[in-house]
Symmetry: C2
Subunit: 476 residues, 2 copies
C-alpha cells in the first residue's frame, strides 16, 4: 500500500498555516487584521465556495478536478515505462504556465544539483526547461545535447505560442538533421485536444500527444499532463503528487474560515490590500521550494492583476507577488522589509524536517568567535533564522505568516500547489475579478505580430511605425 | 593591444539609456516626468556629485576607486596562473554581497549552461556559488565534489557571517577528512584585511587570502577581490571588466543630467516615488543579464530602504526592486504590469547583438499558422517582443525605460555594474538616506544569535521565549 493511502500518514503531512503575526494583536491596529474583520469574511467565503462548487467541472473550472484524472495518470505512466532508458535528456520547450510548473516540480522533488551527476549516479534523464528565446541560451543548449538521446516535449495550451513554436521549428530541424523521419519519435506535444498549430502538426507527423483539458488555463495546468509528463519521465511519483492535491481539495473546501488554510490566506491578503499592503512576498526557507514561489508569481499576478472587476467597474487592482529566498535574501531584502514603507506582507514557507541534517562540526580551539555554531545543524540554523526574522518583522509592525511543511515530498508539494490555486480562486472572488482571463497581454502580443510581419497585422505595423517615428527618442 | 584600450571600440560599447517612455509626453502628465522636473534636478545633481567627489577615497567611499586597483589585479591574476589546471571545481561559500556579484558575473560572462559540458569541452573549472544554508543543498553539493580537486573560496567581509562560517566549518572538515593538513591549500579566504574570525583562522592555518578594502561594503564589492578572484579562476577577463567600470566612472561623473545615465535614472526613479510608483522592475531581455538584476535587487533595496533620513527624520522609504525576465515573464507578470495598479516602473535591459543569431527554419508546407516565423531569428524575436511590450506599456500609461547593451561582454558588464552603483549612490543623495548602512538587519541577527545560544545573548533569549509563549499561535 502506498503511504498516501494511510489516513494517519496523510494527516502527519498536513501543511499548517500560521497567521498569528498577521493579526492586529501582533503588529498593531493599523497594520494587522482583527478577528472581527475575519468574522465578516465568513459569509463571503461561504458564498464564494458555492460559486466554485457550481462552476467546478469539465465545462468551466476543470482545474479543480485535476487531482482525480485516473485515466490520464495511467496513460502518462505507461508512456514513461515505454521510454524508460531510451533518453539521456528531456528538453521541455514551453513558457509561462507551460514551464513554471515543470520547473517547480523539478526543483522541489529531484535532488538539488543532481543533473550534474554522472548518468550512473543519477539513474534518470536530465531535465532542461528552456523557457526563453534568448539565442545565447537556446543554441548552446542544443549544441550540448545529442539528438539521438534527447526527447523534446513541446508544451503550449493554444498550440500557437510564438516563443514555443519558434523553438519547436529550431528543435525539429535539429532532430531531423541527425535522425531524418525518426525525429517524430523524439517529439512529444502537450496541447489542446483539438485546436491549434501544434495539435495539427503533431497529428500529421505522428508525435506522441497528451491533451490539456479545455477548461484548464495555463497557470492552473501544473497537475495536468503539462506537469505530469515531464515529472513522470524523471521519476517523480505523480500518484503521490495528485494524492496530495486531493488532500488539499478536502482541506480547502471547509466552510469555516478558521479551518480553511487557502481561504484564510485569501481573506488576509484581501483585507491587507486596502491598508496599502499591496506587495505580497513569498519567502521559502528551502532551496527546494524556491521555484514554487516563482510559479506562484504567475498564478497570483495574472489571476488578480486586472483592470476591470467582474461587476464591470474599472479597478486597476492586483497585489504584486515578489519572490524572496531565506536565508539568502535576509542579506539582500530584509533591510527594506524591516525599515522601508509598510507596503508588504511576508509569506514565509518553512520546512520542519529536511532530508539532511547538515551537522556543523565544532570549531578548533582558539576559534571562540564561532564556537557557538558547533553542535548545531544547518537544518536548525535555517529554521532559527526564519524564526528570528519573523520575530524581528513582527516587532517592527510588519505582518507576516508562515506555511509549515512537515517535510518536502510529492504529497506535500501537490498539496501546496493545489492549496495556492484554491487561495487564488477564492481571492479572486473576494477581489471581484476574473481569475481566468488575461486581457492585458493581448496588446503586446499584437504589437509583436505586427513587428514580425504576420499576415493580418499590416495596418497595426504601419500605425506603430508612424507613432514611434513621431516621438523623438530621449537617450543618454 | 587589448581592445578596451582603443577609444573607438570603447565608445562603440557604450551602454545607452533610453528614457523616452518615462516622460509625461509619452505616458501622461500624472504618470510621467516633465522636462521641468528634470531641470530642477540639475542643481541637486551637481551638489550630489560634489559630495561623492569629496567622500571618494580609501577612507570613505572606497568602492568608487575599485576600477583602478592595479596591484590587486596583478595579485589575483598571479594566483589564477598559479592554480591553473589544479582544480576541477570552485566552490564559493558566501551570501548576500559575497555571492550575488559572483553569480552575476558567472551568468553574464560564461557560456550559459557550460558547467554541464565535459571538462575537455569546458576547459575551465566549474563554479558553484553556495549562498544558502539549506542542508538539502549544501550536503549533496559536497557529496558530488571531490575534495582533492575542489577549491573552496570563503567570502565574508566581517569574517563572522553566521551562514558562511557554518558552511566553512562543514567544508573544512570535509576537506580535512580526505586531505589532512593539505586542506589549507584548498581554502581561500576573502575578508577584511585585519579583523574578524575568518581573517584570524586563515592566517593561523596559512590559507591564501585576499583583502576586501575596509571602505567597501558588501553590496558594493563586486569589483573587489570578492568578484575578481572567482571570475579570474574561471577565465573571465577581469582587466576588461574593470576597464568597463572605469569607462562608466567617466560617463557618470558628468554634471549635466541629460548626459549622465546613472544620474538620469536616479532622478527619474526619485521623481516617480511620490507619484506612487514605488516598485522598480528590472527586466532584462537576456538570459545572461538575469542575475545582474538579482544583484541589483540587493544594491537598490539595502541602500535605499531606510527608516531614518540623513536629516534625522523618520521616513520609512525605499522603492521595492523586482526582478523580471523577458520574454519569459511576459507570460507571468505583464498582465499585472499592464492592468494592475499604476505603481511600477519597468527598467528594460536590451541587447543589440547576441553572440548567436538563432535562425528560425521555415515551417513545412501546410503549416500556415506559424509560417510567419520562418526566416526570422531568435535574436530578432526577443528584441521585437521587448519593443512590442514597451509600446503596449507606454500606450497603457505605464512608464518604462531601457538600458541598451551593444553586446554582452566583460567591458559592458563592468560598465553596467559600476553605472548601477553610481545610480544607487546618487539616488540615495536625492532620497536623503545613507546608502551604506543596514541598521534594519541587526534585530533579526541578534534574535538568531539568542536562539542559537551564543554567549552574551542569554537575556534576549529569555525575552523572546517569554514573548512568544505569551502569544498563542493561530494556526489553520
Amino acid at each position: 500500500m502506498p503511504r498516501y493511502e494511510d489516513a494517519e500518514w496523510r494527516d502527519s503531512m498536513r501543511i499548517r498555516f500560521d497567521y498569528t503575526n498577521m493579526l492586529a494583536d501582533a503588529v498593531g491596529k493599523n497594520r494587522g487584521t482583527t478577528e472581527d474583520e475575519l468574522d465578516q469574511m465568513e459569509f463571503r467565503l461561504s458564498a464564494g465556495l458555492d460559486v466554485l462548487r457550481r462552476r467546478r467541472g469539465p465545462k468551466d473550472l476543470a482545474w479543480m478536478d485535476l487531482p482525480y484524472q485516473q485515466e490520464t495518470v495511467e496513460e502518462v505512466l505507461a508512456y514513461a515505462r515505454e521510454v524508460d532508458g531510451v533518453f539521456d535528456d528531456i528538453l521541455v520547450l514551453g513558457i509561462g504556465g507551460s514551464a513554471l510548473g515543470v520547473t517547480a516540480l523539478k526543483t522541489a522533488l529531484l535532488p538539488l544539483g543532481s543533473d550534474y551527476l554522472s548518468p550512473e549516479r543519477r539513474r534518470r534523464p536530465r531535465l532542461f526547461v528552456l523557457d526563453n528565446v534568448d539565442p545565447d541560451w537556446v543554441m548552446p543548449t542544443l549544441q550540448m545535447l545529442d539528438p539521438e538521446r534527447t526527447l523534446c516535449i513541446v508544451i503550449t495550451k493554444s498550440g500557437n505560442t510564438v516563443e514555443t513554436m519558434a523553438q519547436f521549428l529550431i528543435a525539429r530541424a535539429w532532430l531531423r538533421e541527425k535522425l531524418g523521419d525518426a525525429a517524430a519519435c523524439h517529439l512529444v506535444a502537450i496541447t489542446d485536444p483539438a485546436r491549434g498549430a501544434l495539435r495539427e502538426i503533431a497529428e500529421r507527423e505522428g508525435y506522441r500527444t497528451f491533451a490539456i483539458p479545455p477548461g484548464v488555463g495555463g497557470r492552473f495546468s501544473v497537475l495536468s499532463p503539462v506537469g505530469l509528463v515531464p515529472a513522470a519521465l524523471v521519476g517523480i511519483d505523480i500518484r503521490e503528487l495528485l494524492a496530495g492535491a486531493a488532500y488539499a481539495d478536502q482541506l480547502c473546501s471547509v466552510r469555516a474560515l478558521r479551518r480553511n488554510p487557502a481561504a484564510m490566506n485569501a481573506a488576509l491578503q484581501h483585507l491587507a490590500y486596502p491598508r496599502g499592503q499591496r506587495i505580497s512576498v513569498m519567502m521559502p526557507y528551502s532551496q527546494h521550494l524556491r521555484d514554487i514561489a516563482d510559479w506562484f508569481r504567475q498564478l497570483w499576478a495574472e489571476s488578480l492583476g486586472k483592470q476591470m472587476s467582474t461587476l464591470g467597474k474599472r479597478v486597476n487592482l492586483g497585489p504584486t507577488p515578489v519572490l524572496a529566498l531565506g536565508t539568502t535574501d535576509q542579506h539582500s531584502q530584509i533591510q527594506l522589509y524591516m525599515e522601508g514603507p509598510p507596503d508588504k506582507i511576508i509569506n514565509f514557507v518553512a520546512v520542519e524536517r529536511f532530508a539532511e541534517e547538515g551537522p556543523i562540526p565544532a570549531a578548533d580551539p582558539g576559534e571562540e568567535e564561532i564556537a557557538y555554531l558547533g553542535g548545531h545543524t544547518l537544518a536548525e540554523l535555517i529554521n532559527v533564522e526564519r524564526e528570528a526574522t519573523a520575530i524581528a518583522l513582527t516587532k517592527a509592525g510588519r505582518p507576516n505568516c508562515t506555511h509549515i511543511f512537515p517535510e518536502v515530498n510529492a504529497f506535500t508539494v501537490g498539496q501546496f500547489l493545489y492549496m495556492l490555486e484554491m487561495q487564488t480562486a477564492i481571492a479572486a472572488l473576494f477581489f471581484a475579478v476574473d481569475a481566468y482571463d488575461q486581457p492585458g497581454v493581448e496588446a503586446g502580443k499584437n504589437a509583436a505580430y505586427a513587428l514580425l510581419g504576420r499576415p493580418g497585422y499590416e495596418e497595426q505595423a504601419v500605425e506603430i511605425r508612424s507613432a514611434e517615428a513621431a516621438r523623438p527618442r530621449k537617450i543618454v
